[in-house]
């Protein structure tokens, strides 16, 4: 196929734009708040007012402040309107001709916006996710074009390695090292897989990126395919994500028609196809070996590693598996260089991270900050603190993560610091808790999730999460004694140390971290009172003590 002229497409797109662009957020949070009707109202009002040569209304991706949904941005003046209704939409359009009462606006220089970074989310809320021309006008596919024409696979891997990018799915493995491993392993075929099975409740980073900027993922995957020698890519996305699936399908279609995916990409010998595989909503399928089993048509259960997917993955072939956000960083790293990327973040944690800030916080939504930003900045400045009671803790990493108490909010958010505190960055869920939240109940809530989502293949996870949930429930209803607290702790460590995959290994994290920082909340609930819990029972064999006792 002929190589597409990106510059001509970009110029055509820019020339077709009227001066004023009204951007309505059409990501899931705003759609649920009625933004589709708001967008229609804008279009209708612009037509009605005869302003079509001056203004147009478009649907864009996430504008970040989900608690003020539906959000609308008006360019070129950078005006941002919260909680837009059909009436206020009409007033905004009337205001364009200077005849209406002013509509309430947000201050784009407020900390929520001003303290954020824009690398992964650089196009979110700016381009139209369902029109490839707008992505190309924002320098899209230039990195892929450059890579295919002027770089060798080894050079691409070198750039990714030097950038210091680490996997954003939770495990934080150096991306360049993973790419190099897949590249050097021999195989008749190789595969690139994007993990978009975002199963944590309260996390919507990947969904927002897929809904707002799907081509960035496709471009990142194609660059990865060239670097490791793969010709086939899969995006594994959970079935509940209807809108991301729809937008990805549209994006793959549009890219294929322009020759940016498929055979002879950009007119070069490189072939790369991307297909979508839809999951059925099992949390464990976010684990890489379970995910691959599901892609191959099997039951989504994990298998022991090694062999790692980089050696024997899909159909026994070397397979590169990265998370959505990891791929989203790739085009920009190739475009602006590894040194630019490595200049953001801390010594060991480079770049930015997207978080979903939710819970007891004034401003909830999508937040991107340089790694190393203190939790306090995220929760108190960007999030605006708790609207009600005093802040107590923040839960990071979803069901696999842990709770960090407010007293430690000054620590920087990077992989090592969070791990030292007994939590994880995870994929980016960040749930703020205030003094009204009972930490034992929080632990029980996440254990219930893990218990339900355990695939049942290995005993520690299948039986252990059920027993842990029962123990937590007993502590909550006041029927547990001091020995139950010891048993909870021992069993937590056993499940963590002996489960087959990450789901079970991380399931006790919230329990252990709340025991570490909020032990008094457990102790005051014991039937024998707080003192009894301080008398440690002698434990001869931790294994029998943990599972041998009469847990109802």
């Amino acid at each position: 196929m002929e190589s597409p002229d990106l510059r001509a497409i970009a110029e055509g797109e820019r020339a077709s734009r009227p001066r004023i662009e009204i951007r309505c957020c059409t990501a899931a949070g705003c759609v649920s708040a009625g933004s589709t009707a708001v967008l229609d109202t804008f279009k209708e009002a612009i037509r009605g007012a005869g302003l079509t040569d001056r203004a147009r209304a478009v649907g864009v991706g996430c504008l970040r402040l989900c608690s003020a949904a539906p959000l609308v941005a008006v360019e070129p003046d950078g005006l941002l309107y919260p909680k837009v209704t059909l009436t206020s939409a009409a007033s905004v359009v009337a205001g364009l001709s200077g005849r209406s009462a002013p509509v309430k606006r947000l201050d784009p220089t407020s900390p929520f916006f001003a303290r954020q970074a824009s690398v992964v989310l650089e196009n979110c809320g700016k381009i139209e996710p369902e029109r490839i021309e707008t992505y190309i006008a924002a320098d899209g596919y230039q990195a892929l074009s450059h890579v295919l024409r002027e770089m060798t696979p080894a050079e691409v891997i070198e750039v990714v390695t030097r950038s210091g990018l680490r996997g954003r799915g939770g495990a934080a493995y150096p991306t360049g090292v993973k790419w190099a491993t897949v590249a050097k392993n021999p195989g008749a075929h190789k595969f690139v897989v994007c993990n978009a099975d975002e199963g944590d409740p309260g996390a919507f980073m990947d969904r927002s990126v897929l809904e707002s900027d799907p081509h960035k993922i496709l471009e990142g995957m194609a660059i990865a395919g060239f670097a490791v020698g793969a010709t086939q890519g899969y995006v594994y996305v959970r079935g509940e994500y209807h809108l991301p699936i729809h937008r990805l399908t549209t994006a793959i279609d549009q890219a294929g028609r322009l020759g940016l995916l498929g055979s002879h990409v950009f007119g070069t010998p490189f072939d790369f196809r991307i297909d979508i595989r839809i999951g059925a909503g099992a949390f464990v399928c976010g684990e890489e070996t379970a995910l691959m089993a599901s892609i191959m048509g099997g039951r989504g259960t994990p298998t022991p590693r090694p062999p790692y997917p980089a050696e024997k993955g899909l159909w026994g072939m070397p397979t590169l598996l990265n998370n959505v956000e990891t791929f989203a960083n790739i085009p920009r790293i190739l475009r602006d260089g590894p040194d630019w990327f490595a200049g953001i973040g801390t010594e060991k944690s480079k770049g930015t991270k997207v978080f979903c800030l939710t819970g007891k916080v004034a401003n909830s939504g999508l937040v991107e900050v340089p790694l190393g930003t203190p939790i306090r900045t995220i929760v108190e400045e960007i999030g605006g603190g708790s609207p009600g009671g005093a802040l107590k803790a923040v839960q990071t990493g979803g069901p696999s993560g842990g709770c960090i108490p407010a007293a430690l909010f000054d620590i920087p958010v990077d992989y090592e610091s969070l791990a030292r505190l007994g939590s994880i960055m995870g994929s980016g869920g960040m749930i703020v808790l205030d003094e009204t939240n009972d930490m034992v109940d929080v632990a029980r809530y996440f254990m219930e999730f893990c218990k339900d989502e355990s695939c049942g293949k290995c005993v520690p996870c299948r039986a252990g999460t059920v027993q842990l949930h029962r123990l937590l429930t007993r502590i909550l209803d006041g029927s547990a004694g001091a020995e139950d607290l010891n048993r909870l702790e021992l069993l937590s460590h056993m499940v963590k140390d002996t489960s087959l995959c990450g789901l079970g290994q991380a399931a006790p994290n919230t329990t252990l971290s709340t025991l570490r920082y909020f032990r008094h909340e457990y102790e005051t609930k014991l039937k024998s009172g707080p003192l009894a819990a301080r008398i440690k029972l002698p434990v001869l064999n931790p294994a029998t003590a943990a599972i041998g006792g009469p847990v109802p």
């Binding site: 899931a28 949070g29 649920s32 708040a33 402040l65 989900c66 608690s67 949904a69 944590d200 409740p201 309260g202 919507f204 969904r207 509940e240 909503g281 979903c356 939710t358 819970g359 007891k360 909830s364 939504g365 839960q395 979803g398 869920g429 749930i431 703020v432 808790l433 939240n437 929080v442 809530y445 996440f446």
Partner: protein
Amino acid sequence: MCTGSACYVNGADALTSAVTESSGVKLGETTPDGAVSVLAARCLGACGVAPVVILDGTIKGDESPAGLLSEMKGWVPGGIA
């Protein structure tokens, strides 16, 4: 009824209790006259406006027990207040 973490932290339990107590059915059940089914969802993805429920296909954010009951007024004769 959304049971995701953001909704849980923001008081989804109180919403669930309000609906189950006034309708007389538990999560996953339907009223005897077949009028109302109360279902739990893992996460509706509208965490920014938690707690969230879906009433007959319409997403309702920042919901309170009193607000929810008033929106469901008349759904169950003699039941939901």
